[in-house]
């Protein structure tokens, strides 16, 4: 946020005298001001010769802060926003859709957890192609392991539009691929760059409705986060939690469904558990565990966490369309 000097132009009350008064109390920016005890600050002004103008300056700063606060909504407004703007996007995978009552919800962060080759990337690719084809919108795909496969997308598109042949099919495929914007991201800082850029683009291009982004995929977020978690310092965890908040903010403000994948690590007694630890657990809205027995086409999907579903584990066996090739 703003240093006090930058406010001087717009608000003449915050002059150099006021700034030096604030600086003597260690206040250089609006954040410092927020952290400071206001009553104590007001009582300090009494000792000054210009206490009246200083008090006015403080009032001015308070009113600036008041204008910036996050909105206070009531339940009706919240529900209206949810019903109007937060739709459910089909993932194209019947099993997941059935379990999630329709699919991924816009405004929410959904996490797919599973061991290697449990079908996480396939589910991501299928969701991407389904959302583009069904909902006529764009998808942002952050690929961290070079696993994005246009051939798979082509296959899924071909499958869903089985009755179209020749030129028309090519045309359709081209349209779908055009709308999946893929970024190769190999470290967490690059991901922050891409996400911040996306935030700026979304803010400025709200009117361009035909390119409306409705799904953001990070496959896999754990391969970006786990390398920075080691060591004794808090920086790695701080980056992880900030990434979570950034994704949730994007999801909520721009009505985007966010899908991230996470791998599993071995627990101490041999039972595998999702990576990224205890702190990450409180980040995603929905956690889905994918598991598959070696060599079988049966995929086991279960819900570990869901904001509106009570049962934390539902088991469903199904022949997943993902694996038919």
């Amino acid at each position: 946020m703003a240093p006090l000097e930058s406010l001087e132009k717009e608000y003449p009350l915050i002059d150099s005298n006021f700034q030096s008064f604030c600086a003597s109390h260690g206040i250089f920016s609006v954040e410092d001001f927020l952290l400071h005890d206001l009553d104590a600050l007001l009582s300090f002004t009494d000792n000054h010769s210009t206490s009246q103008t200083l008090k006015q300056g403080i009032d001015q700063l308070i009113s600036i802060i008041d204008a910036l606060h996050p909105p206070l909504l009531n339940g009706l407004q919240l529900l209206e926003d949810a019903q109007r703007n937060k739709h459910v996007l089909s993932t194209g995978c019947e099993g997941i859709d059935a379990l999630l009552r329709g699919g991924l919800r816009e405004g929410q962060l959904t996490e797919l957890v599973g061991s290697s080759s449990s079908g996480k990337t396939q589910a991501c690719l299928l969701s991407a192609s389904t959302v583009v084809a069904k909902h006529k919108s764009s998808v942002i795909y952050l690929d961290t392991g070079n696993s994005f496969s246009p051939q798979r997308i082509a296959h899924f598109v071909g499958q869903s539009s089985g009755h179209i042949f020749g030129n028309q099919a090519d045309h359709m495929l081209k349209k779908v691929l055009d709308r999946i914007i893929c970024y190769s991201v190999f470290d967490v800082y690059h991901m922050f760059d891409v996400l911040h850029q996306l935030k700026i683009n979304l803010r400025s291009e709200i009117v361009k409705s035909n390119q409306h982004v409705r799904l953001l995929i990070v496959d896999s977020i754990s391969s970006l986060i786990t390398p920075i978690l080691g060591g004794s310092g808090p920086q790695g965890h701080a980056l992880m939690i900030s990434a979570g908040f950034l994704l949730k903010k994007l999801a909520h403000e721009h009505n985007i469904a966010v899908l991230v994948t996470n791998h599993v690590v071995g627990g101490d007694d041999g039972i595998s558990k999702p990576a990224m630890g205890e702190s990450w657990k409180s980040v995603p809205h929905v956690r889905i565990l994918l598991s598959r027995d070696c060599g079988s086409n049966v995929c086991d999907i279960s819900i570990l966490k869901h904001p509106s579903m009570v049962c934390h584990l539902i088991r469903k066996f199904l022949y997943d369309v993902v694996y038919v090739s």
Binding site: N74, L79, K249, D268, P274, S279, C311
Partner: protein
């Protein structure tokens, strides 16, 4: 003593009805289960501790619905403010549980005006970082006054979900690091002090009960994915390990200023007897235990589609 003074003395400070409303708002009240063991009053700070997921937000929603419902529906008839720091609150779930609650008292076709009244009494703010949180607390006074005027009833319950949400970000924050005064204190401490101080000030003008959740961020080293909590930890790292009986330990990570601000503490964890891994009648089981004041018997609570219940 002249006549005027005597008249003033006889006249009293407030009428009986004013006094009654003042006293009744300060009187301790009982929440329905699962928070029914200890009477709570405005000014209390209740901390709900537990790993994720342990139905903490569900318990909050349950208490919020109780608060917004009119007295004739067994409610407390006032406003609730929900500060969402985890940014995961699902209003659809709130609405669903509210409808469940209303229809218990009537027919299947629920009272739309009652529903709208209750929904409007639920106030919500979402914060993405500590400064937004502080911002919100600073500006809450005027906004609560406005809401009080609109609704005719005041906010008596403030919920924070969850208080430790920005812990890691604050711990790593370089925000005060260049300043001289920062060497004495960590940013995390400064921030907590400011938060507690702002809440204290707010409580002076708006007497409220505070319920804050806190998720366990330091996982237990010896835990597993499905059974996070039922572990015995070695004695080694007992310095700042809060201990409860023999089977559950979590690390306190909030700065001491917050810890001393808390007046009641409740621990929620998954139940061993009905592990959450079974799909038992579409419900999950947890244990709820009072740590402050210490009650020796844990309550078994069940979360179903219709809400949170105490399992007897």
């Amino acid at each position: 003593m002249n006549k005027k003074e005597i008249e003033k003395w006889i006249g009293g400070d407030e009428s009986a009805s004013e006094m009654l409303s003042r006293v009744s708002s300060m009187r301790p009240f009982l929440f329905p289960p699962p928070l029914h063991r200890v009477p709570l009053r405005v000014g209390n700070v209740v901390e709900l501790v537990g790993p994720s997921p342990s139905a903490k937000t569900h318990i909050l929603i349950h208490a919020a619905i109780t608060s917004v419902l009119p007295k004739c529906y067994g409610g407390l008839d006032h406003l609730v403010l929900f500060l969402d720091l985890d940014c995961r609150f699902d209003i659809a779930r709130f609405s669903q549980l509210l409808i469940h609650r209303i229809t218990q008292h009537g027919t299947d076709s629920y009272d739309k005006t009652l529903y709208a009244l209750c929904m409007a009494r639920f106030l919500y703010v979402r914060c993405y970082d500590s400064f937004e949180f502080l911002h919100t607390l600073r500006t809450l006074h005027c906004r609560l006054e406005k809401e009080k005027e609109v609704h005719g009833v005041g906010v008596h319950l403030l919920m924070i979900d969850s208080i430790g949400a920005f812990h890691w970000m604050d711990r790593a924050s370089m925000f005060l690091s260049q300043r001289e005064n920062s060497k004495k204190k960590l940013f995390l401490q400064t921030m907590s002090e400011a938060v507690v101080q702002n809440i204290r000030k707010l409580l002076q003008v708006h007497p409220m009960l505070i319920i804050a959740t806190k998720s366990v961020v330091f996982g237990n080293r010896y835990s597993t994915a499905s059974n996070d909590v039922k572990v015995n930890m070695e004695e080694g790292c007992s310095k700042n390990v809060a201990r409860n009986h023999q089977n559950f330990q979590y690390r306190e990570y909030m700065p001491s200023v917050w810890q001393s601000f808390v007046t009641h503490r409740i621990l929620v964890r998954s139940s061993d007897e009905h592990p959450v891994t079974t799909n038992y009648q579409n419900s999950s089981f947890y244990l709820l235990e009072w740590l402050l004041p210490r009650l020796s018997f844990p309550d078994k609570i069940v979360v179903k589609d219709a809400g949170v219940f105490v399992d007897s």
